[in-house]
Symmetry: C2
Subunit: 478 residues, 2 copies
């Protein structure tokens, strides 16, 4: 097996991204336009993301449920803004069971319509509130230009849908879930994020407010890594979610929704992978440590294989997801190369000389650093190393991002610098037409108004109109 | 809340089934024809089923992946038998992104077509084999008459798809997975099953052989609880899964597929529920033990609530999924009734007199038996009790089933007894026309030829033709 080099990030970032996915064998295009096949190494990362998020959802009082894939056209069409946002990108089932359907069914692009219609049946009194459900599901949004993980016609996601007695309670939910997402991104994915509010132009169709977490990729572009929507009473009014309040009056409920999708796997690649391939944060790796025994001939093999298995067993007792690569049709070199491309956090090389010394060579994927460690202490050394790698990946991504957040005072300055990538904090008057013009002229959008921003009064960088001074973050985005 | 009685099994078994689902709040019909909404209490059971099966799949060397929801018409149409079996019940997407599609997309009724087409790209050499993947997914099969969980247009399932170098290895996989399913049914669902082979008429469209596990419901009808298919080289030939063998020759691979679905939740209800509602086996219960404190007035409340929480915490340390029902708008009676309907295995009643004695009343859902137990020993008593309940449910279901398996020697005898329900072991000549006639005349089908059957030569009960004597199991089925 020849050691085929990947396209480097400097050469062609977009091609590098696809090369990493192919080299790590994470996904590929399906024979269906715009759809992808998520292969085991990519799906394993998604599974760990699911487990971690699902635990956090349950700890914050949510339960899982499942609502249908299909939404009758008439039901989807009820919420005007929502329809305008989603109907054009829907896949439509017109035939079923060999017959043309009386009413077309839309394959869900998101499930507010069908879930809110059910909540309307379930909610009668304030005693029935809140309802806090989540579902893990596939959704379909027709896409013209697709990119594996980042933008595919079908993707996997979770969507939380809650309904509350008061706006305050609904808003508390919105921020609780934004916080769940932000902590997950930072602590598990090792990607720093900015929590913010979307502009009017960028918010979810049908929401009062959309909050998001925004991450920076290695090319300085933004990636929206999760959204949490305050839907106000919009969907409750459309679908009739009404209840008798504590004071006996009839009221409309307040709803929220929030979701993250398999595009997070794309974010993970663009945040951590390097010119040698994928780099998986230890907390998301199906295999955290791989042992590659090195031996010549069958005489040596048996003992080395036995040792490798013992090393895996020792690490497993310490909670490490370890594996021994015992394939007999590959030499050690190609094995090292394969696990490097897949981004396994720790590789352990173990040959006859190591055996004699009771040591092994431990290689970190994030830094490439090689250390000789005693075999006897792997069960304590490897967990420590994995924690270090997890922390280092976050620190590296944060340093990269922090060095690329810029304050700009004028639109000219912004236009001059946007090609270089990064997040540009710029005062903005809030006018939708101006926002559209910026997007057209620079391909950059308002990623968010950061929640922790300090007021910094001054003129709008584009129009010169005085602003109260919360700077918006402008960037090009995936 | 009035104590509304369910329809009893004796009165109307079909209505009882629906009443149990409604009373336990497990699922309901969706506003989309034939589809269901799986509510948290029903979905929680499915989640535990998933966890248990997923673990077993991984332990037997499988990995998860994800393939697209949509299958291009031309791809589905390649395998003749498969098309005949599935195409008529497919939902068809004809429009996407606001335009009519050039080629219609079928919503997957099962994924052999799209997965085998991918395997054909992945497999070049015997070194690439086996591939052993599973996916958790939704599938759609248009149904005229639907019943919650048992038969719905969209359902959730897992589908394993493997491809092997030799037929022997593929058959080993088929039986390994049949065994995984059988052990899951018996050890986790507490439902005894018969492992068998399907008749030619009942096998999977496109398979050489279909193996199944068959369970008996309380009304004596059968329910197919899982299938494992030996697909021979059929799909490999259709989709071109070829490899260079060890001997250098070009060969077609051997494939298998196997699956279970949300209909298992229906099986669970019909196997264990009673006239008071659902009965969930402890291993599948989201809540295994519920503590209901009984108190009058706020003075008593605080101490009782604190004790209830302490009891839950003590049980949790012993691995019990426990919950305290602290709702202040329901009296204890309606709470007891609600948890009974939901089928929580153990209910713990705790009032002022119990507090004084340091005891509580523990009620088993399976037998209704009440025992007074020391509060201090709940952490050891409840796990023991849960194990007893799990074992008792299995024993009860097995005794029920074993008493309803009958040997019949003549077709007349069979026709006279089939209305009474049960599994009828009958000699059968194997003729498809005869099998069709039996189905038409009695609504019973061959559930399987049990794998552990002893040869018992004699004449076919219908035609009198001599048979080698493996009796087929005939029954009416869900």
């Amino acid at each position: 097996m020849a050691r085929q080099a990947l396209t480097t990030r400097a050469e062609d970032y977009a091609q590098w991204y696809l090369d990493v996915i192919a080299a790590a064998d994470m996904a590929e295009h399906a024979p269906v336009k715009g759809c992808m096949i998520i292969k085991p190494w990519g799906y394993g990362i998604w599974e760990r993301m699911q487990q971690s998020l699902d635990k956090a959802f349950k700890e914050t009082g949510h339960e899982n449920a499942y609502f249908p894939l299909f939404i009758p056209k008439s039901l989807l069409m009820k919420e005007a803004e929502h329809v305008e946002g989603f109907a054009p990108e829907c896949a439509v089932v017109t035939h079923g069971g060999g017959k043309e359907l009386e009413e077309p069914l839309y394959v869900r692009p998101t499930s507010e319509a069908i879930i809110c219609a059910s909540y309307a049946n379930w909610v009668k009194s304030w005693r029935d509130l809140p309802i806090k459900l989540n579902q893990w599901a596939n959704v379909v949004r027709w896409e013209m230009r697709t990119r594996l993980f980042l933008r595919t016609t079908e993707f996997l996601w979770q969507e939380g849908h809650t309904v509350h007695e008061t706006h305050d309670e609904a808003r508390e939910e919105v921020f609780t879930m934004l916080d769940v997402y932000a902590r997950f991104a930072e602590e598990v994915m090792a990607i720093p994020v900015i929590r913010g509010k979307k502009s009017e132009a960028e918010k979810f169709p049908g929401a009062d407010d959309t909050y998001c977490i925004e991450a920076m990729m290695q090319d300085g572009k933004a990636l929206q890594a999760g959204t949490s929507h305050d839907l106000g009473q919009n969907f409750a009014k459309t679908y009739g979610i009404q209840f008798q309040g504590r004071d006996g009056t009839n009221q409309h409920a307040w709803s929220t929704s929030w979701g993250v999708s398999t595009r997070l796997v794309g974010a993970l690649i663009m945040a951590h992978a390097d010119d040698s391939g994928m780099v998986v944060p230890p907390l998301l790796a199906t295999i955290q440590a791989v042992v590659v025994p090195i031996f010549k001939g069958d005489d040596e093999a048996a003992a080395m294989v036995a040792d490798a298995k013992a090393m895996v067993a020792a690490m497993a007792t310490a909670g490490v997801r370890a594996k021994a690569d015992l394939r007999d049709n590959l030499r050690p070199g190609p094995k090292f190369f394969e696990w490097e491309k897949k981004g396994v956090p720790v590789r352990i090389e173990y040959g006859a000389r190591d055996k004699a010394a009771g040591t092994c060579i431990v290689v970190r994927r994030d830094t490439g650093e090689k250390t000789t460690l005693p075999v006897a202490s792997l069960a304590t050394d490897v967990p420590r190393l994995l924690a270090e790698i997890q922390a280092n990946l976050y620190a590296k991504a944060k340093a990269h991002r922090d060095a690329r957040i810029f304050d700009v005072e004028t639109y000219d300055e912004f236009k001059a610098r946007i090609d270089g990538g990064g997040f540009f904090r710029m005062r903005f008057c809030g006018d939708r037409a101006v926002e559209a013009r910026i997007k057209e002229e620079t391909k950059a959008t308002i990623r968010c108004f950061p929640l922790d921003a300090q007021a910094d009064p001054g003129p709008c960088a584009v129009t010169g109109v005085p602003t109260n001074g919360v700077r918006a973050i402008f960037a090009r985005a995936y």
